[in-house]
């Protein structure tokens, strides 16, 4: 790891000020992505601003027809939350399936979506549930937030504060794990709610998470596994690596979509 200057502000306002002053700062939340990256010397920030001590980022609040989750909320906290389990069980299951217990004790919602790993789980939930991402500067719709592999709409110094997840009528997430890394080879989040039907796919796209409009239209007409069984995505634009070809991932998308619709009931 390269040397850096470290700060642990107690409030968002202090964190913003520190980010504004520093040369080339990096936000540290749970560190489950950033610290491995620093250890491999793949990043060399001048300053590491640790937002892990900011209490106002750590909350879960059910209000009206949505759940608000603070960006600093750990995966394990979301998985165990009675509010999330009640109003959005698919989201609780998704959070409880990220990495392993030790990773879930540290990793945060904000860190996961800011990182936008093409195989991460939370981006599929955000896109699949029409989530709203609140930052220190603005509100960003999930559809506008994920810009490509490890790329988001976030600007320098912009901190994610919370994510609003509207309650779905039906929703489920199914992932096919890579047997070695346990990240999603393909993960499909399906939902039905005031926004209509959404199908979001992670793990497969070369540009990260994406929606499948053909499946959404078919499910809007008839919500059943059979409605998506015949829809096959082209392999073009999908990831191919030593774990699987693009054709294999295309096939998995249909299989996981079917399973997700069945699980959502």
């Amino acid at each position: 790891m390269y040397q850096f200057h470290y700060e642990r502000p107690k409030t968002l306002a202090d964190a913003e000020a520190l980010l504004g002053k520093a040369d080339d700062p990096k936000i540290l939340a749970g560190g489950q992505t950033l610290i491995p990256t620093l250890k491999q010397r793949l990043a060399m920030p001048s300053d590491v601003i640790d937002i892990g001590g900011i209490k106002e980022l750590d909350f879960i609040r059910a209000e009206g027809d949505a759940i608000m989750i603070g960006a600093g909320t750990r995966h394990a906290t979301v998985a165990q939350s009675a509010d999330v389990q009640k109003h959005n069980p698919a989201l609780a299951v998704l959070a409880g399936g990220i990495g392993d217990p030790a990773v879930r004790h540290m990793g945060t919602l904000g860190g996961s979506i800011a990182n936008n790993d093409p195989a991460a789980d939370y981006p599929a939930a955000c896109l699949g549930l029409d989530a709203k991402i609140h930052t220190t500067k603005r509100l960003i719709e999930a559809d506008e937030f994920f810009k490509g592999m490890f790329e988001t709409a976030l600007q320098d110094g912009e901190i994610i504060k919370e994510v609003t997840f509207p309650h779905p009528e039906k929703a489920a997430y199914m992932k096919f794990r890579n047997p070695a890394s346990r990240y999603a080879m393909v993960g499909v989040f399906v939902s039905k709610g005031p926004w209509g039907v959404r199908v979001a796919v992670t793990g497969a796209g070369q540009n990260g998470v994406f929606r499948v409009s053909e499946m959404e239209e078919a499910l809007a007409k008839s919500w059943s596994p059979d409605a998506v069984a015949g829809i096959k995505l082209p392999a073009k634009g999908l990831n191919a690596d030593l774990h699987g070809t693009a054709e294999y991932r295309a096939h998995l998308i249909t299989v996981m979509a079917k399973r997700a619709v069945a699980a959502a009931g």
């Binding site: 610290i35 640790d50 392993d100 217990p101 030790a102 540290m106």
Partner: protein
């Protein structure tokens, strides 16, 4: 350099360290508690698991500074008055280790798992061990030991 202070196994611990010091380096190099191991550089093996404020975390994937003011428990802090912790005793009884390299992390993970899920079954244990790799045992006896300890501790 700056001073980082925390409580480790019930005793106050501080050291003047660089910001980039990992919690595992603080524990091993500054405090000389070498029971916590480092088995990988990709945050995947779990040999380094300790408890921070009561929760199992990978001490290789956390800065010492992030644990400022925290209560840290390492494998050295489990036994009480010369008596092995029930999970340690179960690992010995059920031959849950061979070379022993993964064992501190396995045991710290197991203690955390039993705390969170007192009614463990085999499938849950295997799933909960997702972040701990053992090159020797094939896991069967580790799972057996954890199940036995969870029965014992009920």
């Amino acid at each position: 350099m700056s001073v980082v202070s925390m409580t480790v196994n019930g005793k106050p611990a501080s050291a003047d360290v660089e910001a980039r010091t990992l919690l595992v380096q603080f524990i091993r190099d500054e405090l000389g508690l070498t029971g916590t191991h480092v088995g990988c550089d990709t945050s995947q093996c779990g040999a380094c698991v300790v408890h921070v404020d009561g929760r199992a975390v990978k001490s290789c994937t956390m800065l010492a500074a992030q644990a400022e003011g925290a209560e840290v428990l390492t494998i050295e802090g489990l036994a009480k008055n010369g008596e092995l912790h029930p999970v340690q005793a179960a690992f010995r009884e059920h031959h849950g280790l061979q070379c022993g390299f993964c064992t501190p992390g396995m045991i710290m993970t197991a203690v955390d798992m039993i705390r969170r899920k007192p009614d463990l079954d085999e499938e849950t244990v295997r799933e909960e061990l997702d972040g701990n790799i053992c090159r020797c045992t094939g896991y069967h006896n580790i799972v057996k030991a954890i199940l036995a300890a969870s029965q014992e501790m009920r």
